[in-house]
Symmetry: C2
Subunit: 543 residues, 2 copies
Amino acid sequence: METWITELTPLSFLHRSATVLPDKPAVVHGTSSWTFHELFDAVERRARALRAAGVRPGDRVAYLMPNVPEMLAAHFAVPLVEAVLVAVNTRLATDEVRWILEHCSATVLVVDAEYAPTVAPLAGLLPHLRTVVVATDPHGPEPTVDVPDSVWLDDFLAGADGDTAPLQWAIADERATIAINYTSGTTGRPKGVMYTHRGAYLNSLGQIQTSAHDADSVYLWTLPMFHCNGWCTAWALVAAGGTQVCLREVRGGPIWQLIDRHGVTHLNGAPTVVTTIMNAEQAHQLDRSLVVTTAGAPPSPTTILQMETMGFTIVHVYGLTETYGPYSVCQWKDEWQDLTPEERARMQSRQGVAMVVADRVRIVETNRSDDELVDVPADGTTMGEIVMRGNTVMKGYYDDPDSTAAAFTGGWFHSGDLGVQHPDGYVELRDRAKDVIVSGGENISTVEVEQAVLSHPAVLEAAVIGVPDEKWGERPKAFVVLRPEQQAGADDILAHVRGRIARYKSPREVELLAELPKTSTGKIQKFELREKEWASEGSRIRG
Amino acid sequence: METWITELTPLSFLHRSATVLPDKPAVVHGTSSWTFHELFDAVERRARALRAAGVRPGDRVAYLMPNVPEMLAAHFAVPLVEAVLVAVNTRLATDEVRWILEHCSATVLVVDAEYAPTVAPLAGLLPHLRTVVVATDPHGPEPTVDVPDSVWLDDFLAGADGDTAPLQWAIADERATIAINYTSGTTGRPKGVMYTHRGAYLNSLGQIQTSAHDADSVYLWTLPMFHCNGWCTAWALVAAGGTQVCLREVRGGPIWQLIDRHGVTHLNGAPTVVTTIMNAEQAHQLDRSLVVTTAGAPPSPTTILQMETMGFTIVHVYGLTETYGPYSVCQWKDEWQDLTPEERARMQSRQGVAMVVADRVRIVETNRSDDELVDVPADGTTMGEIVMRGNTVMKGYYDDPDSTAAAFTGGWFHSGDLGVQHPDGYVELRDRAKDVIVSGGENISTVEVEQAVLSHPAVLEAAVIGVPDEKWGERPKAFVVLRPEQQAGADDILAHVRGRIARYKSPREVELLAELPKTSTGKIQKFELREKEWASEGSRIRG
């Protein structure tokens, strides 16, 4: 390695901020907080304890935790001993957690006491798992279940009390894996997405630019840290020197309380988080700008308009677990200022263009017989698959070369998402590949239909799927959750939608539900809706 | 190379901005401008012309140009054909330019018509130089001299008119050299500092964070583009999507005119640029913040205070040609808000801490007999040499392995600058290594003495050197330029200084000059002052 090269790693961010801004609050949790200096010390203590517990470079260390300081510290402590952080989705059931721990052969598991019931039944079942550490949190619930053969965090940390050997805040190879994030796929077993030090470093700098972070940022943790390492924000905020405000559960009341108490300037979240914030009793006009970076599904123009009126600035991003979270951003263009609010919001609901640290976003023809990647015309109507590439795309699925090879057919990562490219180069997601409705030979984008449904003032959430139809093969059907205190009949909604989109795209049926089925990360699980509707059919595709 | 790796290069910045913000002004020059799309096209046209002229990967292409759009385009066009940009200091004499062109074996030279007199005498003298291109500028002077065997830019560009082969906006190896910048050393031949694509990419992102650039930035080119590629700002502004305003000569009138006309938000410059701006007839209170990023020598607390009162925000950075321009920044700390304005300005005059993309700044013991690098105590008083390392430090001197090895003794780049590290980790430059005054066995920092002299209200500029002294070996002497319309005697100034620093540090002599000798980049050339004072001595060091 040449003298002038330093391997890129997010570790350098904390090393720097602890030097430059030692007394500035790095993380706040309820009534307690850590300065950058204290975070640095906490990280070193944890790194030494991991090492004392036998963790070696390349080992996987799993965490099952909500958004608490302990989880943030893990984002630096685990890489500091050159190990790999596996932040597990806290909403998974015992068997799902077991599968992940087995798949990555984690040697250490650190679990928040709230999730003791999830892991207690695993005692003795995981031969690789040598150490289970239980952490209590003064702001969390009391432990209700004992985890057999576990140690308390304090005792675990005390295990390295004599160790004063210096730690290297640097790594030997920036291509080494820093984290594995398991995707919450709707079918099949989850896949372990490998992030590198290089990718995490670059995507952190990208998030700083995209969401406009600096040392004055006060970031509220409404996005799970276990989800793509919080879109790399755990690292990015430390690089910017901003403050991270922890949050154990995403409910409207606590969110608004923290926004007001700490002067929150930024938060990230799926549209479901946005809905929670907007519909909270405590929601009120802001006296300053609060940047909400949102992704997961395109926010409807209606939602965007509503939030901007309240004082939120919306940054709409797009990505997958495989792209370290956000890869593209719907970057603002000055000429949009001249559009009507409705047109402008429609522009902002697009998935946009690659972030500065990412490669291009391409939309390529699907169903080619060869592996050639051919761009569809940038006409805003021709659908294709969204493919991505580069430093902020995973290096592969852990221990799964076949899935990795399949995902990178033709040298680009295949998202499985369908979209169009507009003449200005901005891409727009039209559907998850499996959610396309083919009706009478025409493709119908369920997203487009959903946005039409969502523009009805009484509608809170909507999901559209294809259901069997004797004549057309499939036809769209809408499932709708109404806003609290609002009333609307299926006929009102249908009439509203027909005035907005082509007749063949309009659902002929609207079903009102109390809630929509969702994954643990808040994505609507259309397959559950489809399951019911297609129960009597032999196949799920008709045409 | 793994699928997921994309080699880092600033080329990606323009590729992206031309896609995302095609119609936004990228560069403004007098009454003309280029959008990002037009800049992209201009760059491709120039790249094709370079290729048609036989430029091959790795070849050196030299430019002798003021801060005009052509020079900016070169920052992308030359790397686009994988060649190496050599932006030559426009204030050099013919023989100095000849030496550089010979040393780097440039095959193509592009020269602004204003500098035709510099290069005309070189005709036939440089065997490697196959093509000399002369560019005229509607906002520059008329050509007065013909350059033998040269072609006009328009004809040069027309040479590739048939070429439509696609250009690769990507590179094969991020460690390849993107530019060579010759240092304007005060003695000896200049050395060619090699920048890489990786380093330029990362330092660009660092500049964005340090000076707070975004798509609303309007950057005025008061810093020469030939100086460290304008501290990588030519690339950084394109990454941010901001607008660059060109400027052929740094004079107060045109600067203020452009600040007001274009709503300039940022500019960079040496302290001499700052002085020019502040003392211009047209200087006036700003109605918004304008970020001035300054380096080269620490601005005096007096200057910092004065500028902030007018509406400027000062970002004080430090670096050398060998560090792509700025490597450290005096990053603001919230607790400084509670200091008196004078104390606060003193804090801000320190060179600070490494930028986020840089490694640490260290201050190490000098004059050790081994090559061991040992940090001096961080006590704010023990002097040592400033050393730096990492991605934003040069990969070496071109064709000069001995100088490279010497500069990297112990694995860190030796700046030759002396400074101290304060207990808070911030470094402060105390002197260029050669400018230390040793008086009666005590080291005296000329910078400290200069700041004391500059705090006198009538003093515009000051330089302090050591002059021979029978008793003490050396003693400090000050050379002073007074502000226009101001009067002060040497005795007034001496009395003022004695009230501020230790007696042994105070000059016993002040000489008033009409102007100070300066290098072409605005650094005060103390060696010229020293030359005169030491003429009768056999050696320049007495002790």
